[in-house]
Subunit: 312 residues, 2 copies
């Protein structure tokens, strides 16, 4: 493992779940002489100042990136192109410019053309998150044992890639490098399609004529509540993800629909054997996820339980 890197100044543009978690972890690990941040709204900037996690909160993106050795855009995917354009002329030569966007092809397409020679563009995506957002939602442990995927364009300085790898490693993450296109396919199935399906079924439940919303809510412990968690994620972030990763999402959706038709047919034909075979096969993936520590083995994700008072 590489030694923890040190940056004189880190600029975080955007301070929500991801920006706020990076700030907290980077400060805890002492990775920067100074952490400077900004956010779009005065309200968020005021809250960040109040939280006292970063060294300085500034008013503008341009001011934030001034003299920074590492600049990370922690904003919705659709906002990254315009912000890259805005800050381009103000970047310090030799700076590393990165992001945390959940889509990578579109980020490279939108940001790269604006960035000047002499800065190192290394796009990144930490595969970690919760359903919460905003300046109070971050925490230093978010990235521990999660993967962070880097998708450096061809020709980027290997030293810059290594420094960013060491940075994410110091935040607790494991780092993997792949192409933007492959990233977008992998995330389409491991993240984007699950979110789309969860948003769909929660919407379906909300609109049913036969079952009231109050019943859906009361009896949600049968499985439905798991879907509502990810369908409570930030609408702006997810709108941008689906628009930016349209092709890969539509491709995965095609395969999913075929598989759903197959299972539907098995139900319609009372084919218990086909159902049993399918339901047996899907357990292996869960075991793999628990084995490599990407989820808890505790039942029900380890959800808290109340206790029965002894009445006897």
């Amino acid at each position: 493992m590489s030694a923890a890197p040190h940056f004189n100044k880190i600029a975080l543009i955007g301070f929500g779940l991801i920006g706020g978690s990076i700030a907290r972890a980077a400060r805890e690990q002492g990775l920067a002489g100074e952490i400077v941040t900004t956010a779009r709204s005065a309200r968020t900037r005021a809250r960040v100042a109040e939280l006292g996690i970063v060294d300085r909160v500034v008013e503008t993106n341009v001011e934030a990136v001034k003299d920074a050795d590492l600049v990370i855009l922690c904003i919705p995917v659709g906002a990254c192109g315009p912000v890259a354009q805005e800050i381009a002329a103000h970047l310090k030569p030799g700076a590393i410019v990165s992001d945390v966007g959940s889509v990578k092809g579109a980020i490279v397409r939108d940001m790269a053309p604006h960035l000047p020679e002499g800065v190192h563009f290394v796009p990144a995506h930490p595969v970690a998150g919760t359903e919460h957002s905003g300046p109070d939602s971050g925490f230093a442990e978010l990235f521990i044992n999660r993967w962070c995927i880097l998708t450096p364009p061809a020709g980027v300085d290997p030293g810059a890639i290594e420094r960013l790898r060491a940075f994410w490693t110091a935040l607790g993450a494991r780092v993997e490098i792949m192409t933007p296109d492959h990233h977008d396919l992998v995330l389409a199935i491991t993240s984007h399609l699950p979110h789309l399906i969860a948003y769909t079924i929660v919407g379906t439940a909300d609109e049913l004529a036969q079952v009231t919303s109050s019943e859906v809510i009361k009896f949600s412990a049968g499985g439905f509540r798991d879907f509502t968690r990810i369908a409570a994620s930030d609408p702006t972030m997810w709108r941008d993800v689906f628009l930016a990763n349209k092709d890969a999402v539509l491709e995965m959706l095609g395969t999913f629909n075929e598989d759903l038709s197959k299972l539907t047919r098995a139900i319609r034909r009372n084919d218990g054997e086909a159902l049993f075979e399918h339901f047996t096969r899907t357990r292996a993936i869960r075991r793999g996820i628990v084995e490599i520590g990407q989820d808890s083995a505790a039942p029900d994700f380890g959800r808290p339980h109340a206790h029965l008072g002894k009445k006897a």
Copy 2:
């Protein structure tokens, strides 16, 4: 709230997640003079005896129900008809016969014809569970603050219904009464369809040519891992649920497919506004679920996190 009831002898047929949780909670609450149980396999019976939670483990269903005041079938839905037939002649007059099956129409159809006059048939479904099964998976707290739905056929003795209600209340549950058909519609959307979709997408991910299983597993923290939990549930139980609740599941699936087509069309047409509007609407249901205590408000279901060692 009704006073905790007391039964001289409770018979639990089947000792998995649900039977085992009822046994643990009923013993903790002192609801029975004697709890007797049995299971299909000698292996499970031996394990239950070893656990020492119940008073007696017997070899056969017939032996278990002898002189019992409350008999609860805690076995897969498809097994309830044959077991009802097997025990019918051996039930004590005045006994309450119940079950815990996740489908209710089929249970009434399959069990009721076998049961003799003079026993009280009150089907039940505790809407609570985890992805684990078997004799070791149960715990006394499983039913606390969860709903248990009773679907007594017309004409059942109200006193028997009240005693079963009081029993579930003593286990920590809240009790609601509805018709079997309405139960099956409600559960189709809050439980059966979510499981079907989770089983589908986990299967899809498993078979992709473009993305390896190892990648799916590594990057599952983007949302996919939530689906793998319910797709790791017992295959026999779920095969039986889909066969027994076919009509309601197919009906909900029809609506879900329409809604998924609508969102797919919005993605294809770059209609960010439609996506944003949908993603905003689905947050309300999550809030409702958290507000009435059917899920934890902690981010990520309160999944455990490791800590960053201070390196600075």
